[in-house]
């Protein structure tokens, strides 16, 4: 709880001004905490006389953390392929495992997985647990959750990483809950803290407006989902050797209360968006659906994928799967062309890892220019057609 040292408190009111929740007030010359306090710690940071302190009671978690060792990556597999984020996680997982002087293992769950384990070894895994069963052909939270929970309970890894994909963000929280483990969502950076070997997990919050670093000091495994396209994969090395462990779960653990009746791949464009080398994106500045058609044309000419800011999606010019940003997809193409996008932080967090960013916008003060490799201040309706023309001539040459 928040403890106020009324001897030290000078009643300056800085804490009152800082508190978002209106939970702290100066009364009778010193601060008084009210019911709205969420223990966010803002007031503690601003107090100049150190009169405020958040008291953490002794941990109630009884995990013997020394018994847990090794780094695990959940290797997502769907519709016949390993998700690219799994390969990226083996990259960062290798680094973390080496720092902890522990093995890196992958867990592969699905059906008809022949040869896929070797693939994960080539990208950095020392060991791959393969759980291959027809009952696991479709993803369900029950069956995948049971399998991963059981494996983790048996082998006690110190860290479990998974992609922050639809599948990862759906079932990993169930696994964490049943393991009584801390879980950090949608991380963009992972490091080992030197003094105690804890995993420092950094993630955006408040729509990307702030970053927070999180640790789980008393529980194991330390679990994190990681945003796709943030971590760098290792170079594939077929000479790398690893152990493939075939796992046969109890049949009862493969039963799911959710039946998948049909699994449909929709709109190949959206599937390709996160893997495209060139992405052309449009925003509010395109004014209407007709304006947005220019984006599709430019993308076609360049052989790229179409993306959109939230404003364009909310206006109904393009469906949600094309949305890039905090609540949409993250992309990291070679070239990202932002047309008529002002560049709210929520959009920037989804595309700022692109190699080259081009911004075209009427407003010279638009924040999109802060991340642009090349910026053009101008009318999208003038500039974009000229660009289309120019690249068309090139294609025809």
């Amino acid at each position: 709880m928040l403890r106020i040292d009324i001897e030290a408190c000078i009643g300056c009111g800085v804490c009152e001004d800082t508190c978002t929740f209106g939970a702290i007030k100066v009364e009778d010359g010193h601060a008084v905490v009210g019911d709205g306090c969420t223990l966010c710690g803002s007031c503690v940071d601003v107090c100049e006389v150190d009169a405020l302190v958040i008291e953490r009671e002794e941990s109630v978690f009884k995990t013997k953390i020394d018994e847990w060792a090794g780094v695990w990556v959940y290797a997502e597999y769907r519709h016949g392929r390993i998700a690219p984020v799994a390969i990226e996680l083996l990259g960062v997982g290798r680094k973390l495992a080496d720092q902890r002087q522990a093995p890196l293992s992958a867990v592969l769950i699905g059906s008809k997985l022949d040869g896929q384990g070797e693939e994960l070894v080539a990208y950095g895994a020392d060991k791959v647990y393969v759980v291959d069963d027809p009952a696991l052909a479709s993803f369900t939270d029950d069956s995948y959750g049971n399998v991963l929970t059981d494996l983790a309970q048996e082998h006690k890894p110190e860290i479990i990483l998974a992609g922050a994909t639809a599948i990862g963000r759906s079932f990993i929280p169930r696994v964490a809950t049943s393991l009584a483990a801390g879980l950090t969502a949608d991380c963009t950076n992972l490091e080992i803290r030197e003094e105690d070997g804890a995993l420092l997990q950094t993630r955006p919050a408040f729509g990307g407006n702030i970053m927070a670093t999180i640790v789980c000091p008393h529980t194991r495994p330390q679990m994190a989902t990681v945003r796709p396209l943030v971590m760098k994969p290792l170079v594939r090395d077929d000479a790398r050797r690893g152990e493939i462990v075939l796992v046969t779960p109890e049949p009862s653990r493969l039963v799911s209360r959710v039946k998948v009746l049909e699994s449909v791949i929709e709109d190949l464009d959206q599937v390709n968006l996160t893997e495209a080398d060139i992405v052309v994106a449009g925003g509010r500045g395109l004014e209407n659906e007709k304006g947005f058609a220019m984006i599709k044309e430019l993308a076609d000419v360049l052989g790229g994928a179409v993306a959109a800011s939230r404003a364009a999606v909310d206006s109904g010019w393009v469906p949600y799967p094309h949305q890039v940003g905090q609540t949409g997809k993250t992309v990291a193409p070679k070239i990202y062309i932002a047309c008529g996008i002002s560049g709210a932080i929520q959009h920037l967090v989804g595309m700022q890892s692109a190699d080259t960013i081009i911004a075209i916008n009427r407003d010279a003060d638009a924040p999109i220019f802060d991340v642009a490799t090349y910026g053009i201040v101008g009318d999208v309706f003038e500039v974009v057609p000229k660009l289309i023309e120019k690249f068309k001539q090139r294609t025809n040459r």
Binding site: M1, T20, P217, L302, I357
Partner: protein, 259 residues
């Protein structure tokens, strides 16, 4: 059918910034709103009730002022409202939150269907829905974009996936999180607003929900925030100059070698 919708009061995220000098959240004047995704969950619950019958209860865990969000929900069609509020909950991460919510739901008699938004716009974790399902021991479907059929003790629905969608069938009781594509939430009716104003909100504390105090709040949270800071943006900002034609020509020359 008894439906519970979990709603969270959140600061309007687009207004939240970190003060670069003090490194604290500058949320002055930031409005508190109902988490936008929860509004879609509420709307879906009300639609299911209208079509198949039943009751809709909104449940929120938060400080006393979260009552405003519950009244908003009642104005939009919820039948009754429960606020779980206690100083002991302060500092809860998603693990402690799902414990608290599950205790509250057991205390109010459970539900056939629990609906939540896919995530809250302040924390963006998307962990409370699935974690709560696990605590309740019921099946879970994430990212529901359509509820097709809801008769005979099971529900058919579609869940959004990264590469398309899955059509699923699940036996009740179950918990879904919904995406905003699922519906267009209604605006509160005048009658609804009147009802919301008068409705007595059932307020429960840690003792009421028979919670194990060790599992609540900061103490019951495996995760701890150790640092909060502003995101770093790449600062390149190289602007092209000249007429539109000249700028396009320069850009073409820069891009062509990259293609």
């Amino acid at each position: 059918m008894k439906i519970i919708v979990c709603v969270k009061q959140v600061p309007d995220a687009k207004d939240v910034r970190l003060d670069p000098k003090t490194n604290t959240l500058a949320r002055e004047g930031v409005q508190s709103i109902m988490n936008p995704y929860d509004r879609h969950a509420l709307e879906e619950a009300v639609r299911i009730k209208e079509q198949f019958g039943g009751t809709v209860t909104v449940l929120s865990m938060g400080p006393p002022q979260a009552e405003a969000t519950l009244r908003d929900a009642v104005a939009c069609g919820a039948d009754d409202a429960v606020l779980v509020s206690d100083r002991a909950f302060a500092g809860s991460d998603t693990w402690a939150t799902t414990y608290t919510l599950s205790q509250a739901i057991k205390n109010i008699g459970g539900a056939d269907l629990i609906l939540c938004g896919k995530q809250a716009i302040d924390g963006d974790t998307a962990q409370v829905g699935p974690g709560l399902a696990e605590r309740m021991g019921i099946p879970f479907v994430a990212y529901v974009r359509k509820v097709n059929d809801c008769a005979g003790g099971s529900i058919k629905a579609e869940r959004l996936m990264d590469d398309g969608y899955d059509a699923v069938e699940v036996a009740l009781p179950a918990l879904f999180t919904v995406v905003k594509e699922i519906n267009e939430p209604r605006v509160p009716s005048l009658k609804g607003k009147m009802r919301a104003k008068k409705l007595e909100i059932n307020t429960l504390n840690a003792v009421d929900i028979e919670a194990d105090l060790d599992q609540l709040g900061l103490k019951g949270s495996p995760t701890q925030v150790v640092r909060v800071f502003s995101p770093e943006l790449r600062g390149e900002r190289s602007m092209l100059n000249g007429s539109a034609d000249e700028q396009v020509a320069q850009l073409f020359d820069k891009l062509e070698p990259l293609l």
